[in-house]
């Protein structure tokens, strides 16, 4: 009986990543699962406002391998350590914490956590949007001051662009090519540059297009906006900002908080500082217009304005608000109004959505957000306006 030994083969070991295909497929399945549950994941509080490269744990379903297994009422046998085990002694965690879940009254939910970076998640989010023409969108681009870049060589050109090295080289080539003849004739003949040797650098003018976008987040910070409403608003702004970051090279973000007066605030203040008082929506819009005209002129910037409010505007301000909204709709790429009315908050005040229906503009969109789950669908609706307009452009 001969025992066979096969020694380690370095080269075949390097080549033999046999599980690569299956790993890739698993990864795809994970992504598929994430995509299916994207609305839930996005509604998760923890994701909003995170840094892009941060890794987040996402609970996903659908990549577990199911089979018939026993449940919780199954005793097992273990081996004791050095000391005697006592009846009633706790020796560790069970298979699943919280076994009290009632069986059967809800579909099985099976969590499996995976790590993805926010970047990847955002990519998946926008794939889910399925905006096929968006890449070709007619962006308002600025042509940045013309620069020149080199592009190959020519035989003709102006003197300053003469490439001396290449010119000399082609002379040497030509000389080599004629050498045989040279030996026959006289030895050290002068060999001057010829017109054909001259090589010029060719340049083309380079137009770099720069696309700028500004997001103006306008939020009602009157007394009636509570934490939940602010959170919903924040999620929406976050999505909008992330989305625009994928489309434009340079995205600025401006926060405008308003109650009866509006002012520009920092992000921190915007989301965390509570204010009180009544609401004049027009004040926020006027401020937005003012900022746009001062700093982000619409010929140079793609302007996105989104306003979140609970729709509780002071009656007398409505005509002024409509007027300002019209002006914004004229200059902005997209102008949205989101009315946040969490379920159970009770219905009070007016709904501005009805009022804004008087505003006839292609790029104006109102959405109503009641729950966290609404954020993603409303976001899709919001962007669909953008798409509609772009299709007319094309």
């Amino acid at each position: 009986m001969e025992t066979i030994f096969r020694s380690y083969d370095f080269s075949s070991a390097q080549r033999s990543d046999r599980s690569a295909g299956d790993r890739l497929r698993h990864r795809q399945k994970v992504y598929e699962a994430i995509r299916q549950n994207i609305a839930d994941i996005i509604a998760e509080e923890s994701i909003i406002g995170k840094d892009r490269n941060r890794i987040i744990k996402v609970p996903i379903r659908g990549v577990k391998e199911y089979r018939f297994i026993y449940g919780e009422n199954v005793p097992g046998v273990g081996q004791g350590g050095s000391e005697e085990a006592q009846p009633g002694q706790v020796i560790g965690k069970g298979k699943e914490a919280g076994q009290d879940r009632r069986a059967g009254d809800q579909p099985g939910v099976d969590y499996y956590e995976t790590d993805v970076t926010l970047e990847e998640l955002i990519e998946i989010m926008f794939e889910d949007l399925q905006l096929p023409y968006l890449e070709r969108k007619h962006l308002r681009e600025i042509e940045v001051e013309q620069q020149y870049k080199r592009k190959g060589y020519r035989k003709k050109g102006i003197r300053v662009r003469l490439d001396k090295r290449r010119t000399a080289r082609s002379r040497v080539k030509r000389r080599k090519a004629t050498q045989r003849e040279e030996i026959i004739s006289f030895q050290s003949r002068r060999f001057p540059f010829h017109q054909d040797d001259l090589t010029y650098r060719h340049t083309v003018s380079d137009i770099r297009r720069e696309s700028n976008a500004v997001v103006l987040c306008v939020m009602d910070t009157s007394g009636s906006m509570d934490t939940m409403k602010k959170y919903l608003a924040r999620s929406f702004f976050f999505l909008l900002y992330q989305f625009l970051c994928t489309k434009y090279q340079n995205v600025e973000i401006v926060f405008i908080a308003h109650h009866t007066e509006a002012r520009e605030v920092t992000e921190e203040e915007f989301f965390h500082k509570g204010e009180s008082g009544g609401t004049f929506i027009s004040s926020g819009y006027d401020k937005a217009l003012e900022i746009i005209h001062q700093r982000f002129h619409p010929t140079l910037w793609n302007v996105y304005v989104f306003h979140c409010s609970d729709g509780d505007n002071f009656e007398s301000d409505n005509p002024a608000a409509l007027q300002a909204a019209k002006q914004i709709a004229e200059i902005a790429n997209l102008f949205g109004y989101g009315e946040i009315k969490p379920l159970g908050s009770g219905y009070y005040g007016n709904s501005m959505i009805q009022f804004f229906s008087q505003l006839q503009a292609d790029n104006f969109q109102t959405v109503q957000i009641q729950r966290r789950e609404d954020i993603w669908p409303s976001f899709k609706v919001f962007l669909s306006k953008d798409r509609a307009r772009e299709e007319t452009v094309l």
Binding site: D22, E65, R67, F68, I91, P107
Partner: protein, 477 residues
């Protein structure tokens, strides 16, 4: 990194080990060793040691999980991986020390002997193992590449087949009856039993058995039954189910003899190494490694440890029977060695534990039973005179295929509506319902019509009914 040994050294040690193997009377297949690095070892672990295996995303998942655990140092890799084939193939990790390689080789010969001789492995054609797996892999790849089938469809079937693969017959040594034989048996059983007083009794009436029932007797091979009874399957789908089924069948003996097999190999690697006259440094390393492998896992079961203890116990008891036993049973007819060689041939884990796990051992090993209460494992029984039997029973139920619920197909035409009716043979352990739901979804997918499963939930007989993409539960009488 250069290996701390040369191939020549390994071969020399192997020759010495083989000499011991022969001296101890182990009966092995020809052995082949392959040196591999940790990446390859990870792959082999995930693909059950097979050099060629069909692709499926679950192996990718397994690999990533294992690699993560390994990279973070949570778990090490096995020192060795050995597959049941003829010749027996084992992989040795390149980075292991010389002593570990020697220990592993000796251990592998123990497994090799066990594979060749234990009865549960007789159903495997071990000389064709590699070829079979290769052929499976080639076929699955061909279906994936076939433009009329493709990955998605293949995956759909394989996902379902993986979910149901373990629902198959456990004792492969018992031949499965053909439908004709089943019919015959049905007819025979229907005959009234012979009555010694038939002259004074009224003659029992003969009722004709229902031979139209499908299946005639409850069938445990779910995949095979569905393959043969769903008329809508094309050949490639049938083939995928067959492949998944055959693969489980190949691994059942391994699952069914884990404790015996590991114990057996550990007993022999210890004896072989002790008889090798190791140099002093290696001797010390051997003791450290051996104790690492065999140390009990508090709160769990280490099959190496448990198996070794039982094997050693059998041998001592047969070599030096207690006076009491001698009185009851007369002198032992077999030596300890003869006994252990016999046991390694004719037992599987469940019978091995039932027959040879004695009260003394249960107590020595400090075994206890636990139950989960409120998400925590709580000790429910400890090894004392009243409870040791229950602990043993619980252990037996949790080894090998005991962890897989017994579910059989009872009727393929339930309610005369081609509903597939299955029954869970409840033994006090309820099914995990979330998993049951998802698994029944796969069953439904393969069967193509509604499926129903009878089981017990919290001591109530219930019927799980999968229809219209959701599971309903109703009481059942």
């Amino acid at each position: 990194m250069a290996a701390p040994y040369t191939m020549e050294e390994l071969k020399a040690w192997n020759d010495r080990i083989v000499a011991q193997v022969e001296k101890f009377g182990l009966d092995t297949y020809p052995q082949e060793f392959e040196i591999c690095d940790h990446e390859q070892m990870l792959s082999y672990t995930v693909y059950s040691g097979m050099p060629s295996h069909y692709p499926h995303w679950s192996y990718g998942k397994g690999y990533e999980k294992l690699k993560t655990l390994y990279d973070y140092g949570v778990s090490g890799l096995p020192y060795e991986m050995v597959i049941n084939s003829d010749p027996c193939i084992a992989y040795l990790m390149r980075d292991n020390s010389l002593l570990l390689q020697i220990l592993t080789m000796a251990h592998v010969y123990g497994h090799n002997d066990f594979f060749k001789n234990n009865f549960t492995f007789k159903t495997n054609r071990s000389e064709f193992t590699l070829e079979t797996f290769k052929a499976h892999a080639d076929r699955v790849r061909r279906y994936v590449e076939d433009p009329s089938i493709g990955l998605e469809k293949v995956e759909r079937i394989l996902d379902a087949a993986h979910a149901l693969g373990l629902q198959c017959r456990r004792n492969l040594a018992i031949r499965k009856e053909t439908p004709e034989e089943q019919q015959e048996r049905r007819l025979e059983e229907a005959q009234p039993s012979a009555d010694p007083f038939q002259t004074i009794h009224r003659r029992k009436e003969y009722t004709a058995p229902d031979l139209n029932r499908v299946p005639l007797y409850p069938d445990e091979d779910l995949l095979i039954f569905i393959r043969d009874h769903n008329p809508h399957f094309s050949n490639w789908e049938k083939d995928l189910l067959t492949i998944a089924h055959e693969e489980t069948q190949y691994f059942i003996p391994q699952m069914e003899t884990k404790i015996m097999n590991e114990g057996w190999a550990s007993v022999w690697h210890k004896r072989i190494l002790e008889s090798l006259d190791l140099p002093q440094g290696m001797q010390l390393e051997f003791m450290v490694r051996h104790n690492q492998v065999l140390s009990p896992i508090p709160g769990g079961i280490n099959p190496y440890h448990l198996g070794t203890k039982i094997w050693e116990d059998i041998e001592t008891r047969w070599d030096q029977p207690s006076a009491e036993k001698e009185k009851d049973h007369g002198p032992r007819k077999k030596s300890g060695k003869e006994k252990v060689f016999e046991v390694r041939e004719v037992e599987r884990d469940s019978s091995f534990l039932r027959r040879y796990l004695t009260e003394e051992l249960v107590r020595d090993l400090n075994l206890f039973e636990y139950q989960s209460r409120g998400g925590e494992k709580v000790v429910s029984r400890v090894a004392d005179t009243e409870n040791w039997r229950e602990i043993k029973e619980t252990l037996i139920r949790n080894v090998g295929m005991g962890t897989v619920p017994v579910i059989k197909i009872e009727d393929a035409d339930y309610n005369s509506n081609r509903v597939l009716f299955l029954k869970h043979y409840h033994d006090g352990r309820d099914l995990q319902l979330e998993y049951a739901e998802k698994t029944m979804q796969y069953l439904h997918q393969l069967w193509g019509r509604e499926v129903a499963l009878e089981t017990m939930i919290n001591d109530k007989k219930s019927l799980l009914w999968f229809a219209n993409d959701k599971l309903g539960i109703k009481p059942f009488h």
